[in-house]
Each structure stands twice: as C-alpha cells, then as structure tokens.
C-alpha cells in the first residue's frame, strides 16, 4: 500500500490540468497520452507476430 501511495505521489493530481493548444485543437495532456497509446497499440497489433500463427496456417 505504501508503494502505491508513493507511486501516486509522482503524479500531481491536485493542480490545474495541462492542455495542449494547437490551432483549433485543444486537448488535455491526459487525453492526448491516451490517444497516442491507442495509436501505438493499433500499429503494434498490426505488426507484432501472433503466438501460434504459423502453426495455425499449417493446420489449414
């Protein structure tokens, strides 16, 4: 539990949120990080090898 509290202390949640302003785009850093993670996950899902893929192909 102490470890969890220590980790939570690393992320300041009591202050004002941070925002990215880019022309008409106005997004919080937290939401931007989630969007980047979704894109990374999507690209990784396309290119990372799936376990047992070759074996399955052999079965067909």
């Amino acid at each position: 539990m102490t470890l969890l509290w220590s980790l939570a202390a690393l992320v300041p949640l009591d202050g004002l949120g941070h925002y990215i302003h880019w022309g008409v785009i106005d997004v919080s850093v937290a939401n931007f990080v989630v969007i980047v993670l979704m894109i990374v996950t999507f690209v990784a899902a396309l290119f990372l090898p799936f376990p047992g893929r070759n074996r399955r192909r052999g079965d067909q």
Binding site: M38, T41, F42, A45, L46, F50, Q60
Partner: protein, 207 residues
C-alpha cells in the same frame, strides 16, 4: 404435411434460430487462419472490460454513493469501475479502427457494422450519464457545463442533466440495458456472418 405443432410460433422460431445459428457456429471450435492476429483481440477485450464495468457497477449500486465516497473498498470499486470503462473505450476504439480499415461491413455485414456503431453511441451516452451521476463536484461541474449544449438541441425538455435521479436511472438501467442487448446482437451477428476476411491482394482497386 404440416402439423399443428409445426405451425406454432415456438416451433417456427426454434427452427429458424437453429438454421441461422447452429451450436457449432454459435460456439465454434476453430477460426479462420487470418484471425490469428493481435488486431482481432480487441473485440473480446472490449467485452471483457464491459463485464468488469457491469460487475463493479452492480457492487456500486448495492452499496451506494456514501460507501463509494467514504470507504477504502468503496474507493477501490469506484476506481475499478472507472478504469474498466477506460479499458472498455480504449479497446473499443482500437477495435473500431481495425474494423474500419478492414471495411468490415463487406459480405453482407452491414447490420453487424451498424449495431457496432449504435453500441458505441449508446456507450458514450452511458459514460456521460455516469460522469454526471458521481455525486461529487466533478459531476456538478460536468452537468452544469453540459446542460446548455443539451438544451440547445431541444432534448433538455425530456433529458435534464441537472436531474440526478433521472441521470442515475439512465446510467444504471436504460443505457446499460441498451448497451448489453446491442452487444449481444452484435456478437450474434458476428457468429452468423463470421469474421470479415482480409482484402484479397489479387483483387486490386476494385474492392
């Protein structure tokens, strides 16, 4: 010769259901080789997250707001509910992107795609009513910010975001029911039509 039993609606419904979705199609033993890719896991990840959302939501409903605001276990279950929702939307968006670029509506799968679209919209509405039902300053802020937008659409006359009781009912009864029924329909349609195959590389630009 058609008997009276054959004409019963229960008989006709059972035969139709069994014809459309025999047990081996409903719970198949194998999947086509092209399904062996990470991009195909996000649909079932979304369903797993939805299960956690519902289970944690049931516990929150049993114990109530005072419990989830003031006790350690309440905070934990409340966080579990929030983070399950985060994973639910995360996985659903990646699933959506994957299916969009596969043009997953091909091969008579229009209804599968559309039930996915409507489920996504119902999920957004469910999440929104959840945010305004937290019974804290965050929910007060969100509802007062949202009311003008909702009122501008004209929907404010029947959908009042400042009415906590109404929002809570939408959040824990109507919208989850819609999301669950639509998800079940979506999965059944995937089972009936099968997972959309990749584009044929030889087909070229005509697809």
């Amino acid at each position: 010769m058609t008997t009276e039993i054959d004409r019963q609606w229960t008989t006709r419904l059972r035969k139709r259901a069994a014809g459309k979705l025999p047990p081996e199609k409903l719970l198949p033993d194998t999947q086509p080789a092209y399904v062996a890719s990470w991009i195909y896991v996000f649909g079932v990840t979304t369903i797993a997250a939805l299960t956690m959302v519902i289970l944690s939501g049931v516990i929150l409903a049993i114990r109530g707001p005072q419990w989830w605001h003031s006790s350690s276990i309440g905070h934990f279950v409340n966080s579990l509910h929030l983070w399950s929702v985060e994973i639910f939307f995360f996985a659903m968006i990646v699933h959506l992107w994957g299916k969009f670029f596969m043009a997953a509506w091909r091969g008579g799968r229009t209804l599968t795609w559309m039930t996915g679209v409507v489920t996504f919209l119902a999920s957004v509405a469910t999440a929104f009513t959840g945010y305004v039902s937290q019974t804290n300053f965050d929910s007060q802020w969100i509802s007062t910010q949202a009311k003008d937008g909702i009122n501008a659409t004209g929907a404010g006359s029947i959908f009042n975001v400042l009415n906590l009781g109404q929002m809570l009912m939408w959040h824990i009864v109507l919208l989850p029911l819609a999301a669950i029924v639509l998800t079940a329909l979506h999965v059944l349609l995937v089972r009936i039509k099968g997972v959309v195959p990749p584009f044929d590389e030889r087909a070229g630009a005509d697809q």
